[in-house]
C-alpha cells in the first residue's frame, strides 16, 4: 500500500469565523494553522479546572446529571484476558445497566478490541448501544499504516459503529506532524459512516500546548471525537486536559461550524469525578456538548458508581458496591 505524504510547502489557509473546515493540503498549511494557535496558560487552566470542580450541584440537577452521565458511558473492556463471555455480560449491562430499573438509560457504547466486535454486535442487536473498537495498533500505535488500516477495516467489517484510533505520539513529539495528520486522514477516509475518535494519549504529550495542537490536528484531519487517553499509561484523563480539549473543540466549532465531540477516558471511577467533568463541559464548550453525541466517558468501574449513587439518592442510604454486577 502506498500512502501520500503532504508536500511541505503551499498556500496559507484562512481560518476564521464562518470559514468552514479548511482543506489542508500541505504540511506547511497544517503547521501554519497549528502555529497560529495561542499557547495554553497551564497555571490558569489548572486553576480554572480546580475552581469548576468546587461548583455545588443541587439535588434535582444531580439526579439528571447522573442519568446523563450513564448515557454518556462507553463501557470499556480492553484486556488481554477478555473472553466472549465477558463481552456478553458487558453488552447486557450496557443495554440495561441495572435490570431492576428500566428507567435507567442504556450506555452510549461498548468499547472493545476489534476481534470482539462481531460478538458484541450480535449481543447488542436491537438496542441503541453502539459498538466502538479500538484500532490502529492500540494502545501504542506502533505499526505501519498498512497494518493500522487493516486493523480498522477488520473492525468495520465486523460491524463497528465507532473507531477509536491512536495517534503516533512518537511522530507527533518529534515534529512529524504531517505523518500524524496523514494517518488520521487515511483512517477517516475508510471509516465511512462510522464515527472516528482520535486518541491523543495526553499523558504522553508532555505539555498542554501539545494537547491543544494535537486536538486541532485531529479535528482538521476529520475526527468526530477527540479522546484523551488509552487508559494504558500512567497519566490518563485529567480535568485540566479535558478543559483544554473542550476549549479546542469550542474554538474549532466557532471557526469552522463543525462540532467535534470529546471523550475523557482512563481513571474516572467516581460519580463525583463524572459530575465535575460535566460541569467543565457545560462551562467550557457549552450545553450543546451535554449529549452522548458530543461527550463520552470511557470507563468500566464508573458505571457501577453512577448506579450506586443513583440508588443512594433514592433510597437515602449508602448501598453495597456488590449490589450491581461486575462486568
Amino acid at each position: 500500500m502506498s500512502t501520500t505524504t503532504l508536500p511541505t510547502t503551499g498556500a496559507q489557509v484562512r481560518l476564521g469565523p464562518g470559514a468552514g473546515v479548511p482543506t489542508v493540503e500541505t504540511e506547511g498549511q497544517l503547521r501554519s494553522i497549528l502555529a497560529s494557535l495561542s499557547g495554553v496558560d497551564a497555571v490558569g487552566a489548572e486553576a480554572r479546572a480546580a475552581r469548576l470542580a468546587t461548583r455545588s450541584i443541587k439535588r434535582a440537577t444531580k439526579w439528571a446529571a447522573l442519568d446523563l452521565a450513564i448515557s454518556m458511558v462507553d463501557l470499556t473492556t480492553l484486556e488481554g484476558a477478555d473472553t466472549l463471555g465477558r463481552v456478553s455480560s458487558l453488552c447486557a449491562k450496557a443495554r440495561r445497566p441495572d435490570p431492576r430499573d428500566p428507567s435507567i438509560p442504556s450506555v452510549a457504547a461498548v468499547c472493545l478490541y476489534p476481534d470482539l466486535v462481531a460478538h458484541a454486535r450480535e449481543r447488542l442487536e436491537g438496542s441503541t448501544v453502539k459498538v466502538a473498537a479500538v484500532a490502529t495498533a492500540f494502545p501504542s500505535g506502533r505499526a505501519s499504516l498498512a497494518v493500522k488500516l487493516a486493523d480498522v477495516r477488520d473492525a468495520l467489517d465486523a460491524g463497528a459503529d465507532e473507531i477509536d484510533m491512536v495517534i503516533d505520539r512518537g511522530a507527533f513529539l518529534s515534529g512529524r506532524l504531517g505523518q500524524v495528520f496523514d494517518e488520521v486522514v487515511a483512517v477517516k477516509s475508510i471509516c465511512g459512516d462510522a464515527h472516528l475518535k482520535v486518541i491523543l494519549e495526553t499523558g504522553e504529550l508532555v505539555t498542554l500546548d501539545n494537547v491543544r495542537r494535537a486536538s486541532w490536528l485531529a479535528m482538521l484531519g476529520g475526527a468526530d471525537f477527540i479522546k484523551t487517553s488509552t487508559g494504558k499509561v500512567g497519566v490518563s484523563a485529567t480535568p485540566t486536559v479535558a478543559l483544554v480539549m473542550l476549549e479546542a473543540a469550542r474554538d474549532f466549532a466557532e471557526s469552522t461550524g463543525r462540532l467535534v465531540g470529546v471523550k475523557v477516558a482512563g481513571g474516572i471511577r467516581r460519580s463525583k469525578d463524572a459530575l465535575r467533568y460535566l460541569v467543565i463541559v457545560n462551562e467550557t464548550a457549552g450545553s450543546a456538548w451535554l449529549t452522548p453525541d458530543l461527550f463520552r466517558f470511557g470507563a468500566s468501574s464508573l458505571l457501577n458508581d453512577l448506579l450506586a449513587q443513583r440508588l443512594m439518592q433514592r433510597r437515602g442510604v449508602y448501598v453495597r458496591p456488590d449490589e450491581f454486577s461486575g462486568d
Binding site: 437515602g316 442510604v317 449508602y318 448501598v319 453495597r320 458496591p321 449490589e323
Partner: protein, 283 residues
C-alpha cells in the same frame, strides 16, 4: 533564646491509614471533665463515614487473609506502641474522665493489657469457636469461624480508652475491619490510640476512627448497606432505633451488655460467622 510557641494539635480522623480533616471541614471543641477547653477535634460527616466504609471494605480481605499469628503480632505491636506512649494516653484519660494521675495510669495499663489479651486470641478463635462435626460418612465436616466483614462500633461514652479498646480490638482480632465512632465528649484517648495503630503495622483501612456527633453519624453507620455488623455499646438511648435501622440491611447487631467477665467473649463472638466445610477423608 526566645520563648517557644505552643505547638497546638488538631485532632483528626483516621481513615484508610491517613489522618484527614473531616471532608466537611467542621471541627468541634472538646472540654475536659471540668469544662476547660482541651482541643479542637474533627467533626466527621456522613461522607467521612462513606469513605471509611469504603476503606474498610477494601482492607478487610487482606487483614483476614493474613495468618492469625501475624494478626496477633500486629495487635501486640499496637499494645507496645500504646505502652511506650502511656504517659500521653494517661494525660488525656485523666483530663477526659476527671481521674487522678495514678488512676489514669492504671486505666491505661488495663487498656494495654486488654489489647495484649485480644492479641493472644487471634490464633485461638478458630480452636474455641470452630470444631470438627461428626458425620455419618467418609467425610470430615468442619465449622470454621470467619469474620462478618466490616464492623461499625459506637464506642462507650464514658470509658474513653478501656472501653474503646474492647469494642475495637474484639472484632479486629477475629479478622474484621473496624470503623469506630469515638465517644463524642471524650474522644482524645481514642484518637491517640488510633494514631498509634498507624505505627503498629495495622494495615491502612483496617482500623478507622471517626469523631463527631453520635446523633448524626450513628444512623449513617447503622443504615449503610455495606456495613456487616454494628456494636451499639455507646448508642445510649438510641439502641432500639439504630437496631431497627440496621435490620433493613440485615446487620449483626450487638446491643449493650451488662459487662462482667463474659463481656469480652461475647464481643469476640459477636461478629463471627460460621462457615461449614466438607472435606473428603484422605487415602
Amino acid at each position: 533564646m526566645s520563648e517557644r510557641l505552643d505547638v497546638r494539635k488538631t485532632y483528626k480522623l483516621l481513615i484508610d491509614g491517613a489522618f484527614p480533616r473531616s471532608e466537611s471541614g467542621r471541627t468541634y471543641e472538646v472540654v475536659d471533665a471540668h469544662g476547660a477547653f482541651v482541643a479542637n477535634v474533627a467533626r466527621a460527616s456522613r461522607k467521612d463515614v462513606r469513605d471509611a466504609v469504603r476503606a474498610a471494605r477494601a482492607a478487610q480481605p487482606r487483614w483476614w487473609g493474613a495468618s492469625a499469628y501475624n494478626r496477633g503480632q500486629v495487635l501486640y505491636r499496637w499494645a507496645e506502641m500504646a505502652d511506650a506512649r502511656s504517659h500521653e494516653l494517661a494525660e488525656q484519660v485523666a483530663a477526659a474522665e476527671g481521674l487522678s494521675a495514678a488512676d489514669a495510669r492504671a486505666s491505661v495499663g488495663r487498656a494495654v493489657d486488654r489489647l495484649v489479651w485480644y492479641a493472644g486470641w487471634t490464633d485461638k478463635v478458630t480452636q474455641v469457636f470452630g470444631g470438627a462435626n461428626p458425620v455419618a460418612g467418609p467425610f470430615f465436616n468442619f465449622s470454621l469461624p470467619v469474620p462478618s466483614g466490616v464492623v461499625a462500633v459506637l464506642a462507650p461514652r464514658d470509658s474513653s480508652l478501656e472501653g474503646f479498646v474492647d469494642v475495637v480490638a474484639a472484632p479486629l482480632c477475629v479478622g474484621n475491619a473496624v470503623i469506630a465512632l469515638a465517644s463524642a465528649t471524650r474522644p482524645l484517648p481514642a484518637v491517640l490510640l488510633g494514631e498509634m495503630s498507624a505505627t503498629a503495622d495495622v494495615p491502612g483501612g483496617v482500623v478507622n476512627v471517626l469523631t463527631g456527633s453520635l446523633e448524626e453519624l450513628a444512623p449513617v453507620l447503622a443504615s449503610h448497606e455495606d456495613v456487616d455488623g454494628i456494636d451499639l455499646e455507646g448508642a445510649l438511648g438510641a439502641t432500639g432505633d439504630l437496631a431497627a435501622v440496621a435490620a433493613a440491611s440485615i446487620k449483626r447487631v450487638l446491643r449493650p451488655g451488662h459487662g462482667g467477665a463474659e463481656a469480652p467473649l461475647r464481643r469476640l463472638r459477636a461478629f463471627v460467622e460460621t462457615s461449614t466445610v466438607w472435606h473428603t477423608v484422605g487415602q
